[in-house]
Symmetry: C2
Subunit: 273 residues, 2 copies
């Protein structure tokens, strides 16, 4: 595979990071992940806006123009023969001396990589995770290189034979999966945790909330405990790469819940994801 | 400088990390930082126990024996001419395919680096940070490569002309500085936030809590709001590299607090840190 690093196309094996990179040493960087459809990045303007907001929140300079990155993503997809797949644009703050204080100015390190699409996911079984999501942490509101809590939630889910994790915040409210927003359909509404639960503002999440009324669904964002899922007809996950993935069941905490699903509505939502 | 990577001594410039390293992409790794005194790592057994506990919490294998790392730290200090300074031992989970799910087995990447001691810190002015510490997150209880919230607290403190940040948890309780535990002396007691406030179990913290009764101080760990600092005679920070650093003042949130300090007691504690 070929990657784009600091404006150059390089073979993956030839690409390296310095051992003083703060992305490596401190998780000090941000990223965004987007779908590639027909060889081009999907919803790229929205992803760039989110990436720039994340970078700004942590004072990390973005050393390229949006159009440059969009062109690079298409070029990279073509060079790697990726027509349908995913891309990830990573900005580390770059090298720095010992300690937490960032160098000023920073010399950010940029990595863009693409991959072909994975097969569409089967309905997923989720583990109710004991790894908490923080509603208060700045890093809960942005896609940063500091992702180890979500990694651990995903790892424990896999150890329990589940494909994803349901993370609750410190108040016990439903937050998200390890790498996706969660939604459910209940009482004629599309429900999802509000951002103040410690939820990433998903691009697909926004697309779905915008589309729902056209499909006859009210939109309700709020703070929900686990009991809110009892009324659900269908539960699903969404992110930019997956689109929509139905949840078959939730296990853990001494209970098992299963949902019948609503294939027709999920197909309609999927078309708008 | 020379570093120790996966068991080999290498010049820093020759040392590189692959772009598929999960430490870089996801903050998926752990580390520990220790003092070097007389050319040897201080309290190394305690640091290794903490590092192993962190690695175990996230299922990351530790691919070396404690004695091997201890010897490498001394050798590395000698090769770099560091008699008094600091060392950092980093274990990333290593390379992996796209996505959060860790490869099994992982091939961890190990980096050990040392640096000469920085000058002893002047009494520090702290900024009351608006970057929250999570009391619930697994990553709050371990030293992981996912450190961006603390980086940001430190960065905002520097922007406000302060040398450190005081982080509160989501309940508004005092937690810690960006890279140190916090302590204060009040009513004849040494007080510090309890670990359930979202505090790292500092090795120096443990040394100080053990030493305090010998110095005539009661030890009180608990959940404290900011008002608890009003009764303090002296406030200080502690970590393995700094030892003890007095706090001169806390600013932010529309208030300024200053403390006279207690040079004699801090010197006595410092000798036991």
């Amino acid at each position: 595979m070929i990657v784009w690093i600091d404006g150059e196309f390089l073979e993956t094996d030839a690409a390296r990071i310095g051992i003083d990179d703060r992305g490596f040493l401190l998780g000090d960087g941000v990223f965004d992940t987007f779908a590639i459809r027909d060889g081009a990045p999907k919803d790229f303007a929205a992803h760039m806006a989110r990436l720039r907001a994340a970078a700004a929140a942590f004072g990390i300079p973005v050393p390229f123009a949006d159009g440059e990155a969009e062109q690079a993503a298409s070029d990279l997809a073509a060079r790697n023969g990726v027509v349908r797949g995913a891309g990830r644009l990573t900005i580390s703050r770059g090298p720095g001396p010992r300690g937490l204080l960032p160098p000023d100015p920073a010399q950010p390190f940029v990595l863009l990589a693409v991959a072909p699409a994975a097969p569409a996911p089967a309905p997923v079984r989720m583990l109710l995770s004991d790894v908490a999501r923080s509603s208060a942490a700045l890093s809960s509101r942005h896609k940063t290189l500091s992702y180890i809590d979500n990694v651990e939630a995903r790892r424990r889910a896999a150890l329990a034979g589940c494909g994803e994790a349901l993370m609750l915040n410190e108040r016990g409210e439903i937050a998200c999966a390890s790498a996706a927003n969660i939604f459910w359909i209940a009482d004629g509404a599309l429900r999802t945790p509000s951002l103040d639960c410690g939820v990433l503002a998903g691009i697909t999440r926004a697309n779905l909330l915008r589309a729902a009324p056209d499909l006859g669904l009210a939109v309700e964002e709020g703070r929900y405990g686990l009991a809110a899922l009892d009324a659900a007809r269908a539960v699903f996950l969404a992110n930019s790469v997956l689109g929509i993935a139905p949840v078959a069941a939730l296990t853990g905490g001494g209970r098992e819940r299963a949902w019948e699903g609503d294939a027709e509505m999920l197909a309609a939502l999927s078309a708008r994801a």
